[in-house]
């Protein structure tokens, strides 16, 4: 099937190539590009090219529903010998795959990427080290696009690691600040746990595909995500279902690390130490969504077993609730949004686990826009008044009109108020899980948690909005005078606001909605566009009611400049402290690290210092002592040397004329 834009599918590799070139150019010449904002405009140019081509490819995919265009080359091939672990041999390929899934992601990554790049120009203007910033951000964008277009799990993993390392670089952009350096390390190490699990999962899949794949009609060439009418696990006899279940759990581990799902969620709130633009692009819209994308492609191309699905539902559903509770009390505007991101990612994971892969991806799509909007609006606030503390803000809607409206739209969308984007996708997630729970009773508790979270979501985001924007003036009068940001910052906020309004409605455009329908090629069919059964409408009504209730509660407690203070003797105080301390998870990890790991390290250090080094240094000292004594015979006096010669002669004579004749074994006796 070809459409008017299908010719572009083969050129998809140009999409990641443009930011890669920007990375190289800025990396080499960025320091001489003062007039181009130290490479900023080069990065914007690369992102613009990627966006235009990426969106055109996505539109081409919409016009040819369900087409799969795989362009790849053999990286290397190993011929099969008929025995061993790979009797059919295997080959590894690299290439681009344009399909409904990658089309959706292309739109998200390129559009948000371009807008964030543009926003950076003025937001980052006052910072130093800008060539580094733009080079790393371009490299991130390139890697993310390479990940999105990957046509096999190995290539996916390579780019997955690349985005991880870019995330590390950018979180630690202000590396002079200890908190930022430590947050970068934390993010890198925690996601690394997931990455190791992911890699183990890939090994299992790879081995299974390379052996069983060809016999089942899959391409002999290793394990590309080739077009096939069913996922690998569906409808085929599997020799070792336990192995596949384990592989699925390992993949879930990788996704949980990247998407900050419980229990690997600690790093994302701390990642807010990076610039806000980085939070918007990497830690809200794109990289953290890669985990969900991984689960989506795994469920579309490979499939999960029932046990895996339950595990995914459990982790997603629990994380939704877990993260949202911590957002309720936080004072930092960015951290509130970060917890919200973790929570919303939980919704996506939940949907994928319940079998509604494309619904999860749909929520990813809408969430990317309204969450990037929230971050950029928060960034504009931070840029203007140079604080992240919500309790110092206030009354900003008067001075920052566009920003306050942008944040409001993002908040309403997040709270799930119709007809904004978040309403449709969240409603579909809840509807889908409700449907799946009919046949899987174990899903009910997680459905309940996710449903409750709707109320909390609306509450915490409007608490933030009221604290920052309502009231008369900032609570801290020493803050700089707030001002509306320049056009490079206003434009992304306006565009994202528009997208946060229409992204949900887009699903009703048949061509666009078709992406989500065509991508899910196995039952149960996704509910996009939403179905309108009585239960479904009731569910939507209740969830909108919960959202509105959350907003009203926030207004009652925080509206019009009010500050709600919990009574010091209130029974809720311990809960508040528990939430502020992040359930003591971080303290627990620190304790474990400081006592258990550090203790072990000290033991190893002791062993190294005193046993290994002790042995080495002992020999060293022994020889040094011996040499010191021996060197005394080197007196320099000729007479002494003559005496040694005579003594040597005496020993020689003694040996040959007295000892040798006395010993039969030496020929004497």
């Amino acid at each position: 099937m070809t459409g008017p834009l299908s010719v572009l599918f083969g050129w998809a590799f140009l999409v990641p190539l443009a930011p890669t070139l920007a990375f190289v150019v800025i990396g080499l010449f960025g320091r001489r590009m003062q007039r181009l904002e130290w490479g900023g405009w080069v990065a914007v140019g690369g992102a613009l090219f990627a966006m235009v081509l990426g969106v055109l490819i996505a539109v081409g995919e919409m016009l040819t529903p369900g087409s799969y265009t795989d362009r790849s080359f053999q990286w290397f091939t190993l011929a099969g010998s008929g025995t061993g672990a790979f009797p059919n041999g295997f080959s590894l390929v690299m290439g681009t795959l344009v399909d409904p899934l990658s089309a959706v992601m292309l739109i998200v990554v390129t559009v948000v990427g371009f807008l964030v790049m543009l926003f950076s120009i003025d937001y980052m203007h006052r910072d130093s080290g800008l060539p580094r910033y733009y080079a790393e951000l371009s490299l991130f964008l390139a890697s993310m696009l390479g990940l999105v277009l990957a046509d096999n799990l190995l290539q996916f993993f390579l780019f997955w690691e690349l985005v991880g390392v870019c995330s590390y670089f950018l979180i630690g952009f202000y590396y002079q600040r200890p908190a930022a350096a430590s947050a970068a390390k934390e993010a890198f190490l925690v996601t690394r746990i997931g990455d190791v699990l992911f890699l183990l999962g890939i090994f299992i899949y790879f081995q299974q595909f390379a052996t069983a794949g060809p016999a089942l009609g899959w391409a002999a060439a290793g394990f590309p995500f080739v077009y096939h009418s069913a996922p690998f696990l569906a409808g085929i006899p599997i020799s070792n279902p336990t192995l596949f279940t384990i592989a699925g759990l390992l993949i879930l581990g990788g996704a949980a690390g990247k998407s900050a799902q419980f229990p690997l969620d600690v790093w994302l709130p701390d990642a807010m130490e990076g610039p806000t633009t980085v939070s918007a692009l990497i830690h809200a819209a794109t990289m953290v969504a890669a985990g969900v994308y991984l689960l989506a492609i795994t469920s579309v191309f490979i499939g999960f077993s029932a046990t895996d699905q339950l595990a995914i539902v459990a982790i997603g559903g629990f994380t939704t609730f877990w993260a949202a509770t911590m957002a309720l009390v936080n004072r930092d505007i960015k951290r509130v949004i970060a917890y919200s991101t973790v929570s919303q990612l939980g919704y996506m994971v939940l949907a994928v686990g319940a079998g509604f892969t494309m619904v999860g991806l749909y929520h990813l799509f809408t969430h990317a826009f309204f969450k990037a909007l929230l971050f950029l609006a928060a960034g504009a606030v931070i840029h203007a008044i140079e604080t992240q503390d919500l309790f110092k803000m206030g009354g900003l809607r008067k001075t920052m009109r566009v920003t306050s409206i942008g944040f409001l739209i993002g908040g309403l969308s997040l709270a799930g108020i119709p007809p904004l984007a978040g309403f449709f996708s969240k409603d579909d997630v809840l509807g889908g899980v409700y449907l799946a729970a009919q046949s899987h009773p174990l899903y009910w508790p997680f459905f309940a948690l996710a449903f409750l979270t709707v109320f909390m979501t609306a509450y915490y985001i409007f608490r933030a909005w009221f604290l920052a924007f309502s009231g008369d003036q900032p609570r801290d009068s020493t803050l700089p005078q707030a001002h509306e940001p320049p056009w490079t910052m206003r434009l992304p906020i306006l565009v994202l606001s528009a997208l946060a309004v229409v992204a949900g409605l887009l699903a009703f455009v048949p061509q666009f909605g078709g992406l989500f329908a065509a991508g899910a090629r196995f039952p149960p069919t996704p509910g996009v566009p939403p179905s309108y059964s009585a239960t479904d409408l009731l569910l939507s009504g209740v969830s909108v009611g919960l959202g509105a209730g959350g907003i009203l509660t926030a207004y009652t407690l925080w509206g019009n400049g009010r500050v709600f203070t919990l009574d010091a003797r209130s029974a809720a105080q311990p809960i508040r402290r528990l939430l502020l301390e992040r359930y003591y998870v971080k303290a627990g990890v620190d304790w474990f690290g400081l006592h258990a790991v550090y203790g072990l390290a000290r033991l190893a250090d002791f062993f190294d210092q005193y046993v290994i080094d002790g042995t080495v240094h002992g020999f060293e000292r022994l020889f040094a002592e011996f040499s010191l004594r021996l060197r005394r015979i080197q007196s320099g006096v000729v007479l002494d040397y003559a005496a040694y010669v005579v003594a040597g002669l005496a020993v020689f004579l003694l040996f040959f004329f007295v000892i040798v004749p006395a010993i039969p074994a030496l020929g004497g006796g």
Binding site: Q634, S635, G636, V637, V638, L639, A642, A643, V646
Partner: protein, 107 residues
């Protein structure tokens, strides 16, 4: 050669070597040291001559032992020349020919 016993010559040679070694180990004056070395060396030369003569008396006529002795006398003269040159250099640089004081070879 007369019929003096071979052992007598060897004994003289051994005595000479003993005197020479004693001189080498005890003298500190470089010139006396050189003389002691000469004495020890002459014991070796005497051995060559004695055994050369002995060999000559029991079998073929040959002068190998005596020839080597002549070469060795030349060698001893060369050695003394080098030794005396060192004595002069030592005396010039340190003002003394006491070998126990010349310790710059020490590590």
């Amino acid at each position: 050669m007369t019929d003096l016993p071979l052992a007598g010559f060897v004994a003289v040679s051994a005595v000479l070597l003993g005197i020479g070694l004693f001189g080498i180990l005890t003298r500190r004056n470089f010139i006396l040291l050189l003389i002691a070395i000469e004495v020890a060396m002459n014991s070796a030369i005497l051995n060559f001559v004695v055994f050369g003569s002995y060999w000559n008396s029991i079998s073929a006529s040959s002068v190998e032992g005596q020839s080597v002795a002549v070469v060795l006398i030349g060698l001893a003269a060369t050695e003394v020349a080098v030794g005396l040159a060192i004595v002069l250099a030592l005396n010039r640089s340190r003002g003394s020919i006491n070998v126990a004081e010349a310790t710059t070879l020490r590590l």
